[in-house]
């Protein structure tokens, strides 16, 4: 059974204000403890040995010299972990193939990418651990590799997995393939739709993998006790999901692992997956000492999840009066070394901003000799949307229609049938387009070599399993114990605000704490923009549960029927003077007498939150293109987004500005650069350049609030939508400035210059 709470419009005292975040002082004083800030007495330092090859068979691993080095206490390899069957197994709401999980954390038959771990050591210091890694002798049989998605799809490409046959193709193919899965979505008849079109635009796009780029490298500390219990401190987006995955690969009972989430230094989807955690537990088990493992930045780039690179083709047909008649896309996504790219989500997001009768989308999930991709903020959507929104823009230009007007003519609304399943409920897409059109930015004058671009994004948002407890303490203050990780967005603040609003009390009476895995039941990852939506719903359920218990207690003490007790303005009061008369009781009074009148009181929520509200955004960007260098400067940026309800508007703005900035980096600078040898050439922040403060202008935000009917405060979720549109908006702005359409991301100076020169030659 799932939980939805209906939206109720009411006077708000706390929701919608901008109080200081509960984690603020700790974060500005250095007290906040992140993954690498935890230490235990007697701890060892663990380090992983990583493949120097893109693709090789492991002939042998000899760890004897490493083990003999003084200070080395344990070494683990593939032999220390069980083989896992090739099948999808449930982990909470996720289905995961543990054959792949166990091979990604520790290579078995083959190494599949530069950086793939194949041994780990624990030693008394980092320098000894590093020296030990150099003593491990590995014999490799180097194999041909493939890193490009189009090359990997060819029948003669080197195969990563000789037992992988493309799923989703009937009959089952006779030969194995790097294409793990083929997906298809659609409705209507695209051939008929294109036949009705007056204008058809078709384009091909190529994008490179980019990294989430969280500033905190993965870090964990594990302590295994001889009685078979393990404790783990780690920077994670989901303490319960990490526990479940570690238990599975280490073949332990779930209840025997206790995961305490540390403060997390950015995740953006990249800290949804285990990497060093099971290695640290295994090393601790073997050495009987706590083991701490912290990745270097180079390890983060080489071995943790980037987003896929992709090859995308989009075809669009429209009538002269601006109605889209057919839309088609092929999305070929790199999954990295194991299947599981977000091509599924990208396929569903590609066209869902539009009300279309005829759509066909094909997605291919393709393995290549690169690190296994991980989620990155609206996984896959920015890639599909670069293609679709570029083609939309080109179509609008060909038809001579304003790009926002063209989108409005075809915009999805409440009741629009999607091509992947549901009909859309109440959504705010049209409102974001209209707000963008009305914004002063959209009419501001542009100078020479300057251009303006618009693009839009859609993301589903999700709910899922969510837990929390609201403990009424003996002095009337409250502890809000949360299963939801505050990944940075400020959910500790927003969830406390909803609790205070429900109870009618001051916000500073509520202290939020993130729980470890032994303190609450299973809670899904903070992913899919669910923190404030699902976490908020759970917090409201817990608050209402506590109110119910307090009403019952008052009824008992005052000897009145429970219906006669109402909770209003932070106190229990007679529901109606004609039914009962008694002195109101405050939260504090109730808390003080709790023990004597039946025990302390607490509200609980163990829910499966459903009814997440889709989020839509419209971005406007102005750029200036330097025709000499190819450099693109962002002059002005405006993010308009429907968030349902901004519980804490400053933190919502922060999501919009931060997401847009990541999208700007994706558009202009960021890419994984591989040599012909399949080795990553830029595993550091010097050569993998994320945006810095001086790259950016003021980023303006416009919050649109079309309430989600399935959330008590109307929340939709807001974290992912803002990364979707920037790449396409910037491509459209560059085209507007120069007349040249860029289809190879990133739009870095050399690529822009090449495109400008190419266009010059074509004209000259």
């Amino acid at each position: 059974m799932s939980t939805t709470l209906k939206y109720e419009e009411k006077q708000l005292k706390i929701v919608g204000t901008r109080p200081a975040r509960p984690d603020g002082v700790d974060k500005v004083t250095g007290r906040a403890r992140f993954g690498a800030d935890y230490n235990l007495p007697g701890q060892l330092i663990g380090k992983a040995l990583r493949s120097p090859h893109a693709h090789a068979r492991i002939v042998s691993i000899d760890v004897s010299a490493a083990l003999a080095l003084p200070g080395v206490k344990a070494v683990v390899t593939r032999d220390d972990f069980a083989e896992m069957p090739d099948e999808m197994a449930p982990v909470g709401e996720l289905m995961i193939n543990f054959r792949d999980v166990t091979r990604n954390m520790m290579a078995r038959e083959k190494v599949l990418y530069d950086g793939h771990p194949l041994a780990a050591v624990a030693a008394t210091s980092e320098s000894v651990a590093r020296a030990a890694l150099a003593l491990i002798k590995v014999e490799y049989e180097v194999l041909p590799h493939v890193i490009d998605v189009v090359e990997a799809m060819r029948p003669d490409a080197p195969l990563l997995n000789e037992n992988q046959y493309t799923q989703g193709v009937k009959p089952k193919p006779e030969r194995p393939s790097n294409i793990a899965k083929r997906l298809e979505f659609g409705r209507g008849d695209v051939a008929a739709g294109f036949a009705q079109a007056d204008v058809i635009v078709e384009r091909e796009f190529n994008t490179k993998p980019v990294h989430q780029g969280y500033i905190e490298p993965q870090a964990c500390l594990a302590s295994y006790s001889a009685d078979g219990q393990a404790e783990l401190w780690t920077a994670t987006q989901g303490q319960f999901v990490f526990r479940a995955q570690c238990a599975k690969v280490l073949q332990m009972d779930v209840s025997k692992i206790r995961v305490t989430p540390t403060e997390i230094g950015g995740g953006f989807g990249g800290k949804n997956n285990i990497y060093n955690e099971p290695l640290a537990i295994a090393l601790s088990r073997k050495s009987n000492r706590p083991v701490k493992m912290v990745m270097t930045r180079e390890e983060v780039f080489r071995a943790t999840g980037p987003t896929p690179g992709a090859n995308v083709r989009v075809k669009l047909g429209a009538t002269r009066d601006g109605r889209i008649t057919a839309a088609e896309a092929v999305l070929n996504f790199q999954a990295g070394a194991f299947p599981g790219s977000p091509v599924n989500q990208a396929s569903m997001c590609a066209f869902t901003r539009y009300d279309l009768a005829n759509v066909h989308v094909v997605g291919n999930d393709v393995v290549v000799n690169r690190p296994k991709v991980a989620a990155y903020r609206a996984p896959g959507a920015p890639i599909a949307v670069l293609g679709v929104e570029s083609v939309i823009d080109e179509m609008a230009k060909k038809l001579g229609i304003d790009p926002i007007e063209f989108r409005l003519k075809n915009a999805a609304k409440e009741g629009t049938q999607t091509y992947y399943g549901p009909k859309l409920g109440p959504i705010g897409y049209v409102q974001t387009l209209e707000a963008a059109r009305a914004h002063a930015h959209y009419r501001a004058p542009l100078g020479p070599n300057q251009g303006r671009g618009v693009a839009t994004g859609f993301w589903f948002n999700i709910g899922n399993e969510t837990t929390c407890s609201l403990n009424l303490q003996e002095d009337g203050s409250l502890t809000l114990l949360l299963g939801v990780i505050d990944v940075a967005g400020g959910s500790r603040a927003s969830l406390s605000m909803m609790v205070a609003e429900e109870l009618g009390i001051e916000l500073d009476r509520v202290r939020p704490v993130i729980g470890d895995t032994s303190s609450l039941g299973f809670n899904f990852l903070t992913a899919g923009s669910r923190g404030t939506f699902a976490g908020g719903m759970a917090a409201v359920v817990a608050a209402r549960n506590l109110i119910e218990k307090m009403r019952q207690r008052v009824a008992k003490v005052r000897e009145v029927p429970v219906e006669a007790v109402a909770w209003k303005d932070g106190r229990a009061q007679p529901a109606d003077a004609s039914v009962a008369q008694f002195e109101p009781m405050t939260l504090t009074e109730l808390a003080r007498m709790g023990g004597k009148t039946g025990g302390t009181m607490a509200g609980h929520a163990e829910i499966n939150a459903q009814g997440a509200g889709p989020g839509f955004g419209t971005h406007i960007v102005d750029v200036e293109v330097d025709r000499e260098t190819g450099a693109v400067k962002i002059l002005r940026y405006t993010v308009v987004q429907d968030v349902g309800k901004a519980i804490h508007p400053a933190y919502v703005e922060g999501q919009m500005q931060g997401g847009a900035t990541q999208g700007i980096g994706w558009a202009l600078n960021e890419e994984y650069v591989y040599g012909a040898d399949g080795i990553l050439q830029n595993p550091g922040f010097l050569d993998y350049r994320v945006p810095v403060a001086s790259d950016l202008p003021h980023i303006d935000t416009v919050i649109v609030e079309v309430p989600n009917p399935n959330h008590p405060y109307g929340v939709r979720g807001c974290g992912e939508v803002p990364i979707i549109a920037p790449m396409a908006a910037i491509a459209n702005a560059i085209e507007n400035a120069t007349g040249v359409r860029l289809t190879q991301q990133p739009f870095s100076p050399p690529r822009v210059l090449k495109a400008l020169e190419g266009a010059g030659k074509a004209q000259g």
């Binding site: 603020g24 500005v28 004083t29 992140f34 690498a36 930045r297 922060g654 550091g684 010097l686 403060a693």
Partner: protein, 158 residues
């Protein structure tokens, strides 16, 4: 491996520690002195998360050897607040929602304080260029820049 003895001051306190010859100041602060407020984001001087002051100069502590700290005066984020009173920058970062995950925050605070000490009334552009050595992946910098400008105003009494 014999270790080196280093004497220095950290946030005004006399400290002594032993370090390996190749150990960075950042690692010594974090692992020997247990001052974990200073963060490592890259280890190559590209992200600024490990920013500290050494004898009044802003440095990436990951690029300096711990043995080089002998006799030096080091300032870290742990020394910014005076007793219970937060530094105006710390206060303004919270007020302006200039931090999200917070891993880059100590480095930004140290770097921003160094800016305001040299230039109490910076323009927005000066703030953006001064802080270009500090990476933040959460905020898009907008609210950080606003917080620094506002802290400057408060510190000037403007």
């Amino acid at each position: 491996m014999s270790r080196n003895h280093v004497s220095a001051t950290v946030n005004g306190d006399q400290v002594e520690f032993l370090c390996e010859t190749g150990q960075t100041l950042l690692d010594a602060l974090r692992d020997e002195l247990r001052l974990t407020g200073t963060k490592e984001g890259c280890g190559t001087g590209d992200c600024g998360a490990c920013s500290v002051m050494v004898d009044g100069r802003l440095v990436c502590s990951c690029l300096m050897l711990a043995v080089e700290a002998e006799g030096k005066a080091i300032e870290t984020v742990e020394g910014m607040a005076k007793g219970e009173k937060l530094h105006p920058l710390q206060k303004k970062f919270i007020e302006h929602a200039a931090l999200q995950c917070g891993i880059c925050t100590p480095g930004f605070l140290i770097a921003a304080r160094a800016l305001l000490e040299r230039n109490p009334d910076p323009t927005e552009s000066e703030v953006r260029f001064w802080l270009a050595g500090n990476l933040c992946r959460c905020t898009g910098y907008q609210k950080i820049v606003e917080a620094v400008l506002d802290a400057g105003r408060e510190m000037r009494g403007a």
